[in-house]
Symmetry: C2
């Protein structure tokens, strides 16, 4: 009797293990997804507070970018670490309870690596990438480890309520310039038809090699480096249920405002 | 020895069962999501063939709307059944291997029910709903079971390659008018900032009570009925990896084309 029970139990254990591993394997094999919290139009409208914590965001991906509540600086997620670039140009690791009003993250797996043969400005870099990221109607996560002749980044100081629209706030942005710096560009390229939700085209944040400085990229010259990218065909968009998000005017086309905010190429 | 093994095995079985049920419970508790395959801009550009089967789509939701490959008619998903409205106005249940180039589905759970007090035209119905669906920056799935004084629906006949843009194709649409008809309106309301991906505002398909007729709604008069709706804050967007989708011009703003295609209110 005891032996029989034992065998049945073992069989059940094995069966459940198979189910469990099949479930885990199915999750692991899932194609890459871009997890997006809130929308660029909400940020442009002045929705600077979200309910998503850094701890929750880290369950959605290990690579990406965004900002923090009160529009306090810039977010860079790299190798699973969520960095917080402040308006004074310094970078700290974000605490798990910090919250974000806007973030784009993915689980980064390199699908291709390319190396530019010459120094490139930001515009040249984007044109060069455009020839390599062939499907403009999908998303791309792009990681560029390199040596930069110069990089200009900005970060915005934390805001106080009542919040002003982003196009006004960026006038108070603080710009920091770095020369001959080694570091990592964290980029997301979004298709044009996701305007309103994402930043159409390229969106870059920079983090220095020592992880001490960084921010939202305004311009740069890449001296040498390698670009790794991942094609992404699935978007997980989570809209906030906050009153601020509900009330934000997200009807009108904010393309012109976005151009001002992102910095001209 | 045997007893000990048996106890350990039982303990393992119990532990695995707990893990398994926790996983299942977590999935079941997931908040409502709108699964979207491809984009309205791709359809407007003439991408009329997708790779998603009806069988796969039915794993993503039990309620929604869309179309079929070659733009062959209109799709209505209701109570888990995927209906295919042909251009002759007749409706059949879609086969599991039929494919769709564009679909929006969700797992419908009623979060509120409202009843209009008087007969309403389509425009009046939408204004009346606008006062009840309070958050215009979220999605809504809307189901209206009612008696309609009149309903005009259209369906498009299947196209042949090379495909023309949708704004041209709809000139060949076939319109069917139904008077004093009982049936169900299947609707999705999308926020303005998802233009490009979804149809901003309301999008309605109609299915008669006997499930024999239906299509894309152009106009109607609702005599009486009840509207059930579900608020949706999460979008799962799956972009096709087809060459047709990759090559489609989804750069420009197609709002005016969409207006022509959807039919003026």
């Amino acid at each position: 009797m005891k032996t029989k029970l034992s065998r049945n139990s073992l069989r059940s254990v094995l069966l459940l293990l198979v189910i469990l591993f099949a479930t885990l394997a199915a999750n692991a094999q899932q194609e890459p997804r871009l997890y997006t919290y809130s929308t660029i139009d909400a940020l442009l409208a002045g929705v600077y507070d979200g309910d998503l914590t850094v701890a929750e965001l880290r369950t959605k991906g290990n690579f990406g970018l965004g900002t923090f509540n009160r529009l306090d600086g810039e977010m860079i997620m790299l190798d699973g670490v969520c960095y917080h670039a402040k308006s004074d140009g310094t970078v700290v690791v974000a605490g798990p309870e910090e919250k974000t009003p806007l973030a784009y993250v993915t689980r980064f797996r390199t699908t291709a690596t390319v190396r530019p043969g010459a120094a490139l400005s930001l515009l040249e870099l984007e044109k060069w990438l455009d020839q390599r990221l062939q499907n403009k109607n999908l998303f791309y996560a792009i990681r560029i480890d390199g040596l930069f002749r110069d990089v200009s980044v900005r970060a915005v100081p934390p805001q106080s309520e009542p919040y002003k629209p982003l196009a006004e706030v960026v006038r108070t942005q603080v710009v920091h310039d770095y020369a001959e710096t080694r570091g990592v560009l964290v980029g997301i390229r979004s298709p044009a038809f996701t305007r309103g939700v994402s930043v159409p085209g390229y969106h870059w944040h920079y983090l220095t090699g020592d992880r001490k400085h960084g921010g939202h990229v305004l311009k740069l010259t890449l001296a040498e480096g390698s670009a790794r990218f991942q094609e992404i065909a699935a978007l997980d968009l989570q809209l906030p249920r906050s009153e601020g998000f509900a009330k934000a005017d997200q009807e009108r086309d904010r393309a012109q405002e976005l151009k001002k905010v992102e910095g001209e190429r």
